[in-house]
């Protein structure tokens, strides 16, 4: 168990290194900079001011020097200062991290608690009404764009029915969380319902399920004793992938609901060419992805002895 954890953590190191390199290179080659957008806006016309800022930010230093500096600072947790607000990026991100996590976790809980049981029921009663309805729902759920779904939710529950606040973070209470979490969680929920159904059907055809039946086990026991955990192994992969990519998907939803999360920080920073903030956001999102992946691998090891003893 511990060995699995250690191995996974060691695996993360080169990945993080590669990510840092890519993030750095990406932003040293893309055109446009904070100073140039400033010039376009007509806010910062004085070339001397621009010159001073470029110096201060070290934008004209040789690339290797800048890379060394970037890596060094990043490794000690210094993500630089925002071009825009002059605050440390870590503080900007710190303020946004909890709302983002809260949204992602709520969305994922919704997706898991609804999608997985739905898939199970559908698989155990193939061709039934539950099956047909949920699978049609899942397919349409997968093809609905998030912003459209978000707008519909806002319209229905916020404007028409007036049950829930239709945007903003408010006091951070659950009432504000529900609509964005539904909008964000719907796609993963639909996908999970489908993968769970496929996984359960797959396991139901396995030889060991036939063995279980040959023992004289009732079908409900066959499912609870032998099918569920085996299907879960397959489902966890999807849960992990969906959870990991949720942070990225949250960009649209956060923006739509004016949710003060990493996603909206990222979008704002991109428009402002606030490169340290953008780099910081991406790094945190990628780290989140890696952490989730590690957790998924640990979950595998807990469930599957073939991995635990490997």
């Amino acid at each position: 168990m511990l060995a699995v954890l250690l191995r996974r953590l060691l695996n993360i190191i080169p990945t993080v290194g590669a990510v840092i390199l890519v993030i750095f290179l990406l932003f040293s080659v893309i055109p446009g900079s904070f100073t140039s957008t400033g010039a376009e806006d007509g806010r910062m016309l004085d070339p001397q001011v621009m010159e001073r800022m470029r110096k201060e930010m070290g934008l004209d230093d040789p690339i290797l020097e800048r890379f060394g500096r970037y890596v060094g600072h990043t490794l000690v947790g210094d993500l630089g200062k925002s071009f825009r607000t002059r605050e440390p990026v870590t503080k900007l991100i710190g303020d946004r991290l909890w709302p983002s996590l809260k949204l992602a976790i709520a969305a994922m809980c919704f997706a898991i608690l609804v999608g997985v049981p739905l898939g199970f029921i559908a698989a155990l009663r193939p061709g039934s009404i539950v099956d047909s309805v949920s699978m049609v729902g899942a397919v349409s759920g997968l093809s609905l764009p998030q912003f459209w779904l978000g707008l519909m939710l806002m319209y229905l529950f916020g404007l028409l029915l007036g049950w829930l606040p239709s945007f903003g973070y408010g006091d951070g209470g659950p009432r504000y969380l529900i609509l964005p979490a539904l909008a964000l969680g719907f796609n993963p929920m639909a996908l999970l319902a489908r993968t769970t159904r496929a996984a359960v059907l797959d396991v139901l055809n396995a030889d060991f399920v036939r063995t279980a039946r040959s023992k004289g086990m009732a079908e409900t026991r066959v499912v609870t004793w032998h099918v569920m955990r085996n299907a879960l192994v397959l489902v966890i992969t999807t849960i992990g992938l969906q959870f990991g990519s949720l942070m990225g998907a949250a960009v649209v939803v956060e923006k739509l609901f004016s949710w003060p999360g990493l996603g909206s920080l990222l979008v704002d920073s991109v428009f402002q060419r606030d490169i340290p903030a953008v780099q910081g956001c991406i790094l945190v999102i990628v780290l989140f992805f890696l952490v989730i992946n590690t957790l998924v691998d640990l979950a595998y090891a807990v469930i599957d002895p073939r991995i635990r003893y490997a």
Partner: protein, 325 residues
């Protein structure tokens, strides 16, 4: 012959495919007396496994019971309510499958998978069941059973897994054990051990065996009677020694001729296997008349036009061939 324990009469199994219904198995009849051993032999795909599954009541779509009767101690088992049928399964009729690699749940300890039998059929609690599991493993000669109960299937060799399957199957001392090619997937050296173990335990418990195999040699060694199956039908059924000395059906002859002759091989170096040419026809394309005709050297016109009826042989035997003998 004493009153049969299991009697299968005119069993047919329907296969529905592309909106049509085919008979994957047709008119199959056999009987097994208490403690007796019957062999069911035939090439791959001739319907041995699905016949076994039909007896277990485990046929699943697209296969289903098409007709006939299966009785255990004189009681029809397929008109039983599902809950009653489940009580027979595992407790009175148990089955061992061909593939020990996939027949066990990879996520459960083998101990737990054996213990389930005691919980299901002997009303035992989990802790009592676990104690009995150690005994069950000892009975199938698994070394250090106290430790092995905690092992997962992937930690055991194929032979050990098949021993676990035998422990599961015989846990509740069933009246009938259906062994569906229990040794096909194993090393030759392990095969004999497993067969011996199965015979020894079944003899001790008075369990009858339906031994399914494509190896006529193996079956003839361990069974009193042998039924030979071809393309969904039993084409010959006789006492084991009789079938070797006086095979009646050309297919049986072919099977015997294709057995490797160990002695001959030593003398002549490599002995060419005398095989039956051609393959078993697909269910959807069974030929009219005798189903073995396309591969039969004795075939004549009548074989093409008429389906050979079963001809009785002495001692409850039968053969299905126009030119038998």
């Amino acid at each position: 012959m004493s009153a049969p324990l299991l009697e299968v009469e005119n069993l047919s199994i329907a296969l529905s495919q592309g909106g049509k219904s085919y008979k994957a198995v047709e008119d199959v009849s056999f009987a097994i007396a208490s403690g007796e051993t019957l062999g069911l032999v035939g090439e791959s795909g001739c319907g041995k496994s699905i016949t076994a599954l039909a007896v277990m009541g485990l046929l699943r779509q697209p296969l289903s019971l098409g007709g006939g009767r299966i009785t255990l101690d004189g009681g029809d088992i397929h008109n039983l309510p599902p809950a009653k049928l489940r009580q027979l399964r595992g407790k009175r009729i148990a089955m061992i499958f061909q593939e020990p690699m996939t027949a066990l749940n990879p996520l459960s300890t083998v101990g737990r998978q054996i213990a389930e039998m005691f919980v299901l059929h002997a009303g035992a609690g989990w802790s009592e069941a676990t104690d009995r599991t150690v005994d069950a493993l000892r009975q199938v000669h698994v070394p250090s059973p106290e430790r092995r109960v905690k092992d997962f299937p992937h930690q055991l060799s194929g032979g050990m897994r098949q021993r676990v399957m035998i422990a599961i199957a015989l846990a509740c001392s069933p009246d009938l054990l259906i062994a569906d090619e229990p040794t096909t997937a194993l090393d030759v050296t392990v095969q004999a051990e497993i067969v011996d173990l199965m015979q020894e335990l079944c003899a001790a418990k008075g369990t009858a065996i339906l031994m399914i195999s494509h190896d006529l040699g193996l079956v003839a060694n361990m069974c009193r009677r042998v039924a030979v199956m071809y393309a969904g039908r039993i084409v010959e059924q006789q006492a084991a020694d009789e079938i070797f000395e006086r095979p009646q059906h050309p297919y049986t002859r072919g099977l015997i001729a294709s057995l490797p002759r160990l002695g001959a091989r030593i003398v002549h170096g490599r002995q060419r296997l005398q095989e039956i040419s051609g393959v078993v026809p697909a269910i959807t394309a069974f030929p009219a008349g005798c189903r073995f005709r396309p591969r039969c050297q004795r075939a004549t016109d009548i074989c093409q036009s008429n389906d050979p009826p079963p001809t009785p042989l002495p001692e409850d035997g039968l053969v299905r061939c126009h030119h038998h003998g």
